[in-house]
C-alpha cells in the first residue's frame, strides 16, 4: 500500500516498501510556470536527505529539487527530457522526477502528511 508524504520545499514522495518515487507538487509546478527543462539524476547516484537531487527550469525561474530522503537512484524519468510539460500537466503522476531505494525509513517521520502539506499551501496564499 503506497503512501505519499511531502516536504516543506514542495517535493512529494510516494513510498512503496523500500523504494519510492519523488516529484514536485502541482502547487510548485504552478508557481514555476511552464516548465521548459528538467535535469534528473542518473541511476546509481547517491542522494542525501535535503540535498540537491534535480533541477527544474521554467522561462522565469530555475529551482533545485531536493531529495526528501537518503538513498540511491534507481531511475530518472527520461520522458521529462522530451516533454518537460509533463510536470505541469501531471505533477504527481507522469511528471515524476526519479525513483530511489531508501536507506533509512525513519527519515520519513519528519515529512509532512497530506493534511499538514495542505495546511502549508493554504498558509502561503
Amino acid at each position: 500500500m503506497s503512501e505519499t508524504r511531502y516536504t516543506k520545499s514542495h517535493e512529494w514522495i510516494r513510498i512503496d516498501g523500500d523504494s519510492a518515487t519523488v516529484g514536485i507538487t502541482a502547487f510548485a509546478a504552478d508557481a514555476l510556470g511552464d516548465v521548459v527543462y528538467v535535469e534528473v539524476p542518473a541511476a546509481g547516484k547517491a542522494l542525501a536527505k535535503g540535498k540537491e537531487a534535480a533541477v527544474v527550469e521554467s522561462v522565469k525561474a530555475a529551482s533545485e529539487v531536493y531529495s526528501p530522503v537518503t538513498g540511491t537512484v534507481t531511475e530518472g524519468n527520461q520522458a521529462l527530457a522530451d516533454d518537460p510539460a509533463l510536470v505541469n500537466k501531471d505533477a504527481t503522476g507522469e511528471g515524476w522526477f526519479f525513483k530511489l531505494t531508501l536507506a533509512d525509513k525513519s527519515e520519513l517521520a519528519d515529512l509532512l502528511d497530506q493534511a499538514a502539506y495542505d495546511a502549508l499551501v493554504a498558509e502561503s496564499h
Binding site: Y37, E57, V59, A85
Partner: protein
C-alpha cells in the same frame, strides 16, 4: 545552380495575417534572415586582387564552404534599415526602465568618439604616440574622482557587472593582504541579480539582508549578520526601490566596525550626481555605469563601461593597467610591479572601453558641474512628479519622496485578473516602452519607473494620463484587452516557453532534397 534555397517569397495570392498580399503593413516590412536570400554571385564589397606571394598557410588552409550568403550593399542597407524600424528606442520615446537610466544619447558624443585621433589608434602603439588618449582617460578619471569624492578609480571594467567583479576582487585582495579569510558577502535583498552573481564568481557565499517596512535595509538585521567572516556588504544607493538609504552612514559605520568593506552598486548614481558624494556616505568602492549616468548609448545591449571608484584602502589593489603621470607625460603601468605591485591582475585585454570614455567625457564637459547637479535635480523631480500623480490610481508600497525612480506594486490590480505583465503589454500599444517589471523582488508585481531628466513635462503628462486610463480600465474589468496586448506591434506576444523548450539558436541550412532514385 544556387546552393541555397530560393528566397522566402512574401507574395501570396490571398492576404494572410497581415491583411496584405506582400505581408508588409505600410512602413512595417517583413524582413527574412540574411541567410534566406538567394545569394549566388553577389558580394557587398569590392576587393582588389591579392599581390602574388608565397602561400604560407601550410596544411592548414580552409577546405569547404563557410556557408555565408553573398548580398549586395543596397540589399544590406535595406535589410538593416527595415530591422531598425521594428525597434523602440530612446530616440523614439520615453523608456521608463527603472535603474537603467535611459536618458538622451547626445550626438556630439558620437562625433567626438569618431575623431581619427581617438578611433584610429592601436592600444599598443608606443605611449609617446597616444598621449592625448591617455589624457582623456586621466581627465575622465579626474571627473569621476571629484564627483564621488574617492581618491582612486579603476578604468578598465567593460560594464557595470564587470565593475562589480573588479570591486569585489579588490576587496578579496585587500583582505588577503591583511591575512584575513572572510568568505561571506551580505547583499541587500532588493539587489540587482548581478550583485549575488558577482559575489559567487569571486568565491564568496552570499547572504541576503532583508528590507524593513520602509523599503530600506534593515539596519538591526544587518548588524546581526555582520561578523568576522563577512568580507563586504553590497548595497545600492539610492536602492532599487528608488529610495535613499536614510541610515546609510550608520550602515557604513557598522560595516567598517566589523572589518568589512562597503560596496555600493552605482547603477542609481543619476539621482545624486553633482549633489552628493558617495565617499561622504561611507562607501569604499562603487562602480559607475557610464552607459547609464553618463549618457553613452545602450546600443541594444552594450557596449557599456563600468569604471570603479575606490577608497584609499582598496586603491593599491586596482586591476591593471594603471594610467599614471610619469616623467615624460602619461605612462601605462601594465605589470604588477612598482607602485602597482599589489594590483590584482587584469580583467580584460588592453586599456578599457576608450570609445565610451570619450563619449562620457564629452557629456561631462557639456554639462559641467552645474549641469550635472541639475541632472540629478530634474531626474528626482520627474520621478516624484510621476509618483505623486499616480499614487492614487496605482499602488505605491512606500511613502514618498522617492529619488530618481518611482516604485509601484500590483495591489491596485488585485482581483482584476490583469497582471503587471499585462499592464506592460498594454502600455506598448499606447506607444511607450514598458517600465521595469517584477523587479525589485521585495514587492509583489513591481513596476519600477525611471523617467530620467531628459524627458519633458509634456511627455510625462501624456505617460501619466495613459497609465491613469489603463489602471481605470483594468479595475473596470476589461481583462481581455490586456491579455491580448500588444496588438499594434510588429509581433504580438511571443512564445517564450516554446523558445526555451526547443531552443533554435541559429539558422540552419535546409537539407538538399534527396535525389529521385529513378533518375
Amino acid at each position: 545552380m544556387s546552393g541555397w534555397s530560393k528566397a522566402v517569397s512574401n507574395f501570396t495570392a490571398t492576404p494572410g495575417v497581415s491583411g496584405t498580399y506582400s505581408g508588409h503593413r505600410g512602413l512595417q516590412i517583413e524582413e527574412p534572415l540574411l541567410f534566406e536570400r538567394d545569394s549566388e554571385g553577389r558580394c557587398g564589397v569590392d576587393l582588389p586582387e591579392p599581390p602574388r606571394a608565397k602561400n604560407r598557410l601550410g596544411a592548414h588552409a580552409r577546405t569547404g564552404r563557410i556557408g555565408l550568403p553573398g548580398i549586395s550593399e543596397p540589399e544590406i542597407v535595406r535589410h538593416f534599415t527595415r530591422l531598425s524600424q521594428k525597434n523602440y528606442a530612446i530616440d523614439t520615446g520615453l523608456y521608463p526602465l527603472g535603474s537603467c537610466t535611459m536618458k538622451h544619447n547626445p550626438r556630439l558624443n558620437e562625433k567626438m568618439a569618431r575623431l581619427a585621433g581617438f578611433a584610429d589608434i592601436h592600444p599598443l602603439q608606443p605611449v609617446s604616440t597616444v598621449q592625448g588618449a591617455l589624457a582623456v582617460i586621466d581627465q575622465l578619471a579626474h571627473w569621476l574622482k571629484v564627483l564621488t569624492g574617492m581618491p582612486a578609480v579603476a578604468m578598465s571594467p567593460a560594464a557595470g557587472a564587470h565593475g562589480e567583479l573588479c570591486g569585489m576582487m579588490a576587496i578579496r585582495a585587500a583582505h588577503d593582504a591583511k591575512g584575513e579569510t572572510r568568505n561571506k558577502v551580505l547583499v541587500a535583498e532588493s539587489a540587482h541579480g548581478t550583485n549575488p552573481a558577482t559575489a559567487a564568481a569571486c568565491g564568496f557565499t552570499v547572504e541576503a539582508v532583508p528590507a524593513n517596512a520602509r523599503g530600506r535595509v534593515d539596519l538591526a538585521a544587518m548588524k546581526a549578520q555582520l561578523g568576522p567572516d563577512v568580507a563586504a556588504v553590497m548595497l545600492t544607493n539610492p536602492n532599487t526601490c528608488g529610495l535613499f538609504e536614510t541610515e546609510i552612514r550608520e550602515i557604513a559605520d557598522a560595516v567598517h566596525a566589523a572589518g568589512a568593506y562597503f560596496y555600493c552598486d552605482g547603477a542609481n548614481f543619476n539621482a545624486i550626481v553633482g549633489r552628493v558624494r558617495p565617499a561622504d556616505l561611507g562607501v569604499d568602492v562603487m562602480h559607475i555605469n557610464l552607459h547609464k549616468t553618463f549618457s553613452t548609448p545602450h546600443g541594444g545591449g552594450g557596449p557599456g563601461a563600468g569604471p570603479v571608484v575606490m577608497a584609499a584602502a582598496l586603491a593599491p589593489f586596482a586591476p591593471l593597467p594603471w594610467v599614471v603621470h610619469g616623467k615624460n607625460g602619461f605612462e601605462v603601468l601594465e605589470k604588477a610591479e612598482g607602485e602597482a605591485a599589489q594590483a590584482f591582475g587584469r580583467l580584460k585585454g588592453f586599456h578599457g572601453q576608450m570609445g565610451m570614455f570619450v563619449r562620457a567625457l564629452a557629456y561631462m564637459m557639456s554639462h559641467g558641474a552645474d549641469g550635472l547637479r541639475q541632472v540629478a535635480s530634474d531626474a528626482v523631480l520627474n520621478a516624484n512628479y510621476i509618483l505623486a500623480s499616480l499614487k492614487d490610481d496605482m499602488s505605491a508600497p512606500f511613502e514618498g519622496p522617492c529619488m530618481h525612480e518611482a516604485l509601484f506594486d500590483d495591489r491596485f490590480l488585485k482581483d482584476t485578473g490583469v497582471t503587471t505583465l499585462d499592464m506592460a503589454k498594454a502600455l506598448i500599444d499606447e506607444g511607450f516602452h514598458p517600465m521595469t517589471m517584477y523587479f525589485p523582488l521585495v514587492v509583489h508585481g513591481a513596476l519600477l519607473i525611471e523617467p530620467t531628466e531628459t524627458e519633458s513635462k509634456a511627455t510625462l503628462d501624456r505617460f501619466i494620463g495613459v497609465l491613469k486610463a489603463l489602471a481605470a480600465e483594468a479595475k473596470g474589468g476589461k481583462v481581455e484587452k490586456f491579455r491580448a496586448a500588444p496588438m499594434l506591434t510588429p509581433r504580438r506576444r511571443l512564445d517564450e516557453t516554446g523558445a526555451a523548450r526547443q531552443p533554435i539558436l541559429r539558422w540552419t541550412p535546409p537539407k538538399e532534397p534527396a535525389r529521385d532514385a529513378a533518375e
